[in-house]
Symmetry: C2
Subunit: 375 residues, 2 copies
């Protein structure tokens, strides 16, 4: 049996390992927290720091293949492992581009991949030279995640909120909608694409409300998005699973927001809604099997279960029973012991032929279900 490792033991690792059990593969996970969602679902768990060269190298050197759950891993160790013959998904070269927001944006510009206008800033002072880009978003080059390391700068008075460190200042896009495309790339550079996903935001809360697959897009916008995603993925030149998040602006221009070189939240519906899920697909790639079928069996929606504001502590899933009574929903609780405000604690997938049914249930689930701390 091939030996395959995952750096990081959160929900992505958990769902990867659920899918791994369909294949002959010996699984390894490394993560600091021995109680993390994926720790008990692998053959071999290693307590370690995924940002440490030594930990990643020692973990990886006996493996046939290794993948990541999060971008903030030790790149140099992965480069050394690759040089020594371990297959790394994504390649360290692709990860190097993506894990740094400056390099990622420069990569888009170099390859003429449409993306929002931007400048690179090295400290707060330089922001004053780029007032013409405002309103803009300031993004730290490294270490941002789940909204951290991102600051909206609407006008010059907000400049002090920016980062006094290497960062990208991106002109705000007049967004009509946000979409995500998940792509699978085999070891022989064959590409398969999942149907685009609508990431629907709650304007009032400025939070992701739910996701819909396939996205509702005019044919021409869909073609544009697919062409851009394929161009991007070909330029990245790495096997693995990739999520390309894009903005569609008011003029139906498609602009790449950012790329994740790994399984992604916007692809979770694929577990039940697609023939080969993004998790199944990554194992096919890592085990060098043929790519699977990315078609939807049925249209789907996802609602993320996020830790409630003002709640920290052992998690309680209010409304879970009501949701489990619905006849076409699939609940995924990630098994995190503690909830925190904004923490991803689970998701619910709905599948249905009827778009109205998807939207009705997505809204109902959002109203019914809450992840709170034990009182």
């Amino acid at each position: 049996m091939k030996k395959a490792g995952i750096l990081g033991g959160g929900q992505l690792g958990r769902m990867l390992l659920q899918a791994a059990a369909n294949y002959p593969v010996e699984t390894y996970v490394m993560e600091k927290d021995a109680d993390c969602p994926a720790a008990h679902l692998c053959h071999h768990f290693t307590k370690g720091d995924i940002t440490s060269f030594e930990d990643v190298y020692q973990f990886g050197k006996a493996l046939d293949a290794i993948t990541i759950e999060i971008e903030s891993v030790n790149l140099e160790a992965l480069e050394k492992l690759e040089a020594e013959g371990v297959k790394v998904y994504p390649t360290p070269a692709a990860l190097k581009i993506i894990k740094n927001k400056i390099r990622q944006k420069e990569f888009y510009r170099h390859h003429e991949i449409p993306t929002s206008d931007f400048v690179i800033t090295h400290n707060l002072e330089t922001l004053n030279e780029h007032l013409h880009l405002l309103p803009a978003v300031h993004k730290l080059s490294e270490g941002g995640y789940d909204g951290k390391g991102v600051q909206v700068i609407n006008d010059s008075t907000a400049i002090p909120l920016g980062f006094n460190a290497p960062a990208v200042l991106e002109k705000q896009v007049n967004i009509k909608k946000e979409i995500s495309l998940i792509l699978a790339v085999s070891n022989t550079a064959e590409i398969k694409m999942y149907a685009p996903v609508d990431m629907v935001f709650d304007q009032r809360l400025n939070l992701l409300s739910h996701q819909l697959s396939p996205a509702e897009l005019p044919e021409k916008v869909e073609w544009k998005a697919e062409a851009i995603a394929i161009k991007l993925i070909k330029a990245l030149n790495s096997p693995g699973i990739f999520a390309v998040e894009m903005f569609v602006d008011q003029n139906d221009n498609v602009l790449v927001n950012e790329t994740a070189p790994r399984v992604h939240n916007s692809g979770h519906h694929s577990i039940e809604a697609c023939y080969s899920s993004q998790f199944d697909m990554l194992w096919r790639i890592m085990l060098n099997y043929p790519l699977g079928n990315t078609d939807n069996i049925l249209p789907a929606a996802i609602v993320n279960l996020i830790g409630e504001e003002g709640n920290s502590g052992p998690a309680v899933y209010t409304g879970l029973e009501e949701v489990l009574k619905m006849d076409n929903v699939f609940v995924h609780i990630y098994g995190k012991k503690e909830t925190k405000p904004g923490r991803k604690m689970g998701h619910v997938t709905i599948i249905s032929k009827e778009k109205q049914d998807l939207l009705y249930k997505a809204n109902l689930i959002k109203r019914l279900m809450k992840v709170e701390a034990e009182k």
Copy 2:
């Protein structure tokens, strides 16, 4: 989090644990072989003997709920655990009836559940008193599994092949087809039923060829089968998952062959083909959540991957790549290190609106895929 244990660590445990990772539950497995298919997918693995009172009792006493993967477990320990407040699925009382073929047949007779004519035999000599039942099938009362402990006795010359131990002699049924019904029973005795499954046999090899869900049955036969299964399950009076295997004879009589008080091979298609799989459903029951939806999303077929005759040793999956190229199939390899003749090594599920597509691919998979020993 509730603590739930499984006695046995084979493929049923493996698939149960894949499903468990959608819920907040702490999982425990006990099995002799620390390399078994389920050992690495639980929070806590205990090396132990599921037939030993002491091992089962010690394993179970700290749990909230416990279930079984196989009938041959220590019943007395489960009875003690139940008396001490551990929830046991199925109840020890139901398991006691089912795990002994004599008690099982007497239970059917007592509850007027249609089943083949039979007598109880305590040794080989008594067989001669029941020649009128021949051709018949002789079944050991305890310990039979996967065809072991079962002997066809066509005429009196075959009597010496029978069992010189407590057994059941069952008159052979003139079988038109074999079907299986999977039922879920909640803690409050609510019952949900999956669509009947056709167990299609290869007459030439006398082996299960493939399974089809929903089964092709005249409406009246389906109603009869469902009524019998519900009567049986109500009489068993236990929460859990149950598979009722039935014969349909040439006159469209429906006769119960046997019942399994657990997740069952004939329900594996439910993972991809149903909204709530049999594995998902057992967790809902054990965690006291509402029952799920047993409807098929699409019709399905299953092909079992069985160790080839004359092959023992480290398993090789010939034809796996070809099967993985098919666009609506799902491969499940159970991760058993060694193949043996007749050993269940995996299964492949096909889902499709078109029955012809199901049958065509089932036959293709049977031709393409073989589980052999490393040369």
